[in-house]
C-alpha cells in the first residue's frame, strides 16, 4: 500500500483546506492516528480519539473544520467530514491495487444456458452457476460461490467466497455479498397437523435493490410466495436474519445479529443497531432508529428512536431503566414510612 502524494494533491482530492504544512510535503502511506509513521496520512474522525491525535506521529492529519492546532510539526487539512475524506484517499489507492480480470476460470462450472458476457464478467475458481442464470457486465462471482437456477445478478455485483444465491432470486446492480451470505433460503413456514410440523413450500423469491450490501453469513429467506424485498441502498451487516416476506425499505442500516421475523415491513432510512429483534407482521415507519438489542413487538411510528423490550420511545425506556436503579433506595424509603407511621399510631394510642 505504499504510495506517494503531496499535501497539496491530498487537499485537492478531499476538497479540503490546508490549515498547516508545506504544499510539497510527501506522504507515502496511511494509518490510524496511533499507528501512523512520520510519512503517513491519518484522520481525526471521532472526538474520542483527540488524545491520540495530540500524540500522533503522522505527517498529516485530515481534521474537522474548526480544528486549527495539533501536534507539533504535523500538517493539517480541514474538511467537513474527515472519515469520508479519508475514504476517498483509501479508495483512490486501493483502486490501483485491485484487479478485475474477466473470464470464466477453468475450475468454475457454468451451465451452458447461463447468459452473460465472458469478456466482461469474472467467474472465479470453484464457482457454480446453474441453468438459466443471468449475470450483468462487470460482476465478479467469487470462489466456491453458488448461483442457482434462473437467478438474476445485476451489473458490477460482487459475490464473495462461499456465498449462495438460490433459485430465481434477483439482485440489482452493484450488490455486494460478503463471504457465506445466503440469499433465498426457505422461509421458516410449517403448519401443525396430526402431531407433526408440515413444511409449507416457499415458492417466492428474494429481490435485492441496487447498491445493497449483505454481510458475512447473513441469511435472507425467500417469500412463501411473492417476494422478500431489500430496498435500494440498504446495508445489512454480518449474521443478520431476515425472514420470509419481509420488506425492507431504501437506505436502511441493519446491524449485526439483528433478526427480523416474517412479513414485517420497514420503511426507508430505518436503522436497526446490533442484536435487535423484531416480531413478524409489524410495520416500522420511515427513519425509525432502534437502539442495540431493542425488542419490537408492535407497529412503530415514523421518525422516532426506540429502546428496550418491549420497544418504547427511548426517553421513556431510559426513565424506566433509571428508576430500576433507584429501586433499592425506594424500598428503604417505604420501610422508613412504615416505621414512621407505626410510631405515629403507637404514639397516639
Amino acid at each position: 500500500m505504499a504510495f506517494a502524494l503531496t499535501l497539496s494533491e491530498l487537499a485537492r482530492w478531499v476538497d479540503g483546506d490546508i490549515v498547516r504544512g508545506g504544499l510539497d510535503l510527501s506522504l507515502t502511506g496511511m494509518a490510524a492516528l496511533d499507528a501512523a509513521s512520520p510519512h503517513d496520512v491519518s484522520f481525526l474522525g471521532n472526538e474520542k480519539y483527540y488524545g491520540q491525535f495530540l500524540e500522533t506521529k503522522a505527517a498529516a492529519v485530515i481534521v474537522p473544520r474548526g480544528v486549527t492546532s495539533g501536534p507539533e510539526g504535523t500538517a493539517l487539512i480541514a474538511v467537513e467530514n474527515p472519515s469520508l475524506a479519508f475514504a476517498v484517499v483509501v479508495r483512490h489507492f486501493a483502486a490501483a491495487v485491485r484487479k478485475f480480470a474477466p473470464g470464466v476460470h477453468p475450475r468454475a462450472f457454468v451451465d451452458p444456458s447461463a447468459v452473460f458476457d465472458p469478456a466482461k464478467v469474472r467467474i472465479q475458481a470453484g464457482a457454480v452457476v446453474l441453468a438459466g442464470v443471468t449475470i450483468g457486465d462487470g460482476s465478479d462471482i467469487g470462489p466456491n460461490s453458488v448461483i442457482s437456477d434462473d437467478a438474476v445478478i445485476g451489473r458490477d455485483c460482487r459475490l464473495m467466497a462461499n456465498s449462495s444465491v438460490r433459485e430465481r432470486c434477483v439482485l440489482g446492480d452493484r450488490v455486494i455479498l460478503q463471504p457465506g451470505a445466503v440469499i433465498g433460503s426457505d422461509g421458516y413456514g410449517y403448519e401443525f397437523s396430526e402431531g407433526r410440523h408440515m413444511k409449507i413450500d416457499q415458492v417466492g423469491i428474494v429481490e435485492i435493490g441496487d447498491d445493497v450490501e449483505i454481510g458475512a453469513n447473513t441469511s435472507i429467506d425467500r417469500a412463501r410466495f411473492g417476494k422478500t424485498i431489500i430496498g435500494e441502498g440498504t446495508k445489512i451487516d454480518n449474521l443478520v436474519q431476515i425472514g420470509h416476506n419481509v420488506v425492507i425499505g431504501k437506505h436502511c442500516l441493519v446491524v449485526s445479529q439483528t433478526g427480523i421475523s416474517g412479513s414485517t415491513k420497514l420503511g426507508d432510512y430505518v436503522t436497526c443497531a446490533g442484536q435487535v429483534g423484531i416480531v413478524g407482521h409489524v410495520t416500522i415507519g420511515d427513519k425509525v432508529t432502534l437502539t442495540a438489542r431493542t425488542g419490537v413487538t408492535t407497529d412503530l411510528a415514523a421518525g422516532q428512536i426506540y429502546s428496550g423490550k418491549p420497544a418504547r420511545p427511548m426517553r421513556e425506556a431510559m426513565k424506566i431503566e433509571a428508576y430500576s436503579r433507584r429501586l433499592p433506595k425506594l424500598i428503604d424509603r417505604v420501610k422508613a414510612l412504615e416505621k414512621a407511621l407505626g410510631d405515629t399510631v403507637a404514639e397516639r394510642e
Copy 2:
C-alpha cells in the same frame, strides 16, 4: 407458475366447502390477498389480514370455516386451516416445476469408497463426498456442499449449497439442510491449564432424526463423546447455535438466532421463539414454550409458557414487566406519602 384449475377441483384438493362461487370458475395463478389479480387464488390465514381480504381482487379465497361473506364477486372456499390448505395448492403446482435428475455431476468429487446408487442419488457440481460416506436413495447433494468421512445421509435428503456435514455424523430420512448449515462442528470445550485453554477433542457425533430441517448458516456441534441429538420432526431455523451433547426431542421448533448451550436437554414439542438463550446442563420439559429472547438458567417444568431473563412463567414475567412501567408513578406516591406523614407529624407537634 401459471396453471389452470376450476373452483370445484380446488375445493376437492383442499377438502373444503364452496361457500360461494361457480363450480367452473377458472383459476390460473396464486398470490397474497393484496397482490392477487382477478384470476388468482388467495387465502385468509391470519385475521390480521381481514382488511386486505375485504379489498382483494382475487377470484377465489380459501377462508376459515365460519367466514360466509367477503368482497363482492369473490368465490369462497371454507376449510379448517386455510394456510395449510393453500400449502397443498402450492405444493401441487411446484411439484410440476421441480426437477430431480439423478447422477454424479462431472464437477463433483466423490471418493470411490462412498456407497450410494448413482441412478437414484443426485450429486451436484462442486459437491465433495469423502471416504466411507453412505447416501440413501432420492437424496440431492447440493452444489459446493461437503460430506466428510464416514457420514451417513438417509433417503430423500436435500443438502443445499455450501452446507457441511462433518465426519461420522448421521442424518435420517427427508432431512433438509439449508445453505451454509454446519452439522458436526467441534463442541466448544477447553480446559484451563497453566494459563492456557487446552482444546478437548470432540470425538462424538451429531445424530439427526427423520424429517428434520436445519436453517441457513445454523451450526450444530458434535458431542464431546457420544451424540448431540436432534429428534424426529424438529425444525430449526437460520443462525441457530446448538452446543455439544445437546439433546432436542421430537417435533420441536427452534426459531432463528436461538442458542442452546452444551448438554442441555429439550423434551418433545418444545418451542423456542427467536433469540432465546439456554444455559448448559439444564432440562426443559415437553411442550414448553419459550417466548422470544427468553433467557433460561434452570430446569423448566413441562407444558408451560415462559418469558423473561431469568425465565419465569409468562404471567409472572408480564406482571413484573407491567409493574416496571408503573415505577415512576410509584415513586411519586411514596414522595406524597412522605410529605403527608411529615405534615401529619408536624401538625400534631
Copy 3:
C-alpha cells in the same frame, strides 16, 4: 474407538492415583457416566453428575481428588482435573484414528504463485488457494474452503469445510477454523452523504495469533485500515461477530452469538459468555467476565464480573434483578401505607 489399556497404564497417562481397583483391569472403551458399559472408562467432571456416578456401569471412573468411594465394583482414579485427564485419554486414541495425508488433491485449485511444501501440506478437494498465498508445514486446507490473494496461513493450521480467509489476512500457527468461518469480511463502514450510505473501503486485514480457534459460521471483519487482532490462545465459538478494528487479547473466551462492535479492545483472559453484546470504541480490562447476554456500553475495569444491560458489577445487577421481583409486593405495601395514613388522618379529624 475400541482400544485396550490397563488401569495402571491409565493412571500413568493421566498422572493420577488409583483409589480403588486392580492394576491389570482391562479397559476397552470410553463413554459418559450414564452410557458407559462394564468395560468403559468414564469421568466425573461436574458434581451435577454425582447421581449418575453412583449408578454408572463403567469399569473405571476418573474422579476429583477427595472422592474415595463410588458404585460397587467400579475402579477409581483420582486426579486434579478429571475433565482434562479424560481429554488426554481421548486424544491419545483419537490420534490413532486421525489421518493426515499431505498433498494437493487433483480437484483443488491452487494458484501457481502460492508458496507451500506439497509434501507437508494437505489441500483437500474443492479448496481454492489464490495468488501469493503462503501456507506453513503441517496445515490442512479443508474441502471447498477458500484462501484469497496474499493471505498467510501458519504451520499446523486446520481450515475446515467451506471456511473462507480473505485477501492478505494472517493466521498464526495451529489456528483452527470450523466450517463456514469467515476471516476478513469487510467491516461495516459507511458515510452518509446526499441521502445515501457510501461504502468506506476496508483495506486493513485480520491478524490471528497462534493457537486460536474460530467457530462455525463466525465472522471476523477486516480493519478499515490497520488490523483487527485476535490474540494468541483465544477461543471463539460459533456464530460470533467481531467488528472491524477490534483488538482481542490473549487467552480470551468468546462464547456463541456474542457480538463485538468496531474498534473495541478486550484485554487478556477476558470471558464473554453467550449472546453478549459490546458497543464499539470501548475498552474491557484484563480478566473481565461478562455473564450471558450482558450488554456493554462503556469501558469496564479489569478483574470483575459484569452482568445486565447496561453492564454493571454482577452483585449490583443481581440486586436490581431481585428487587424487580419484589415490585408487586412493594406496590401492595405502598397501597397499605396510603390507606393507613388516610385512616390516621380521618380518625383525627
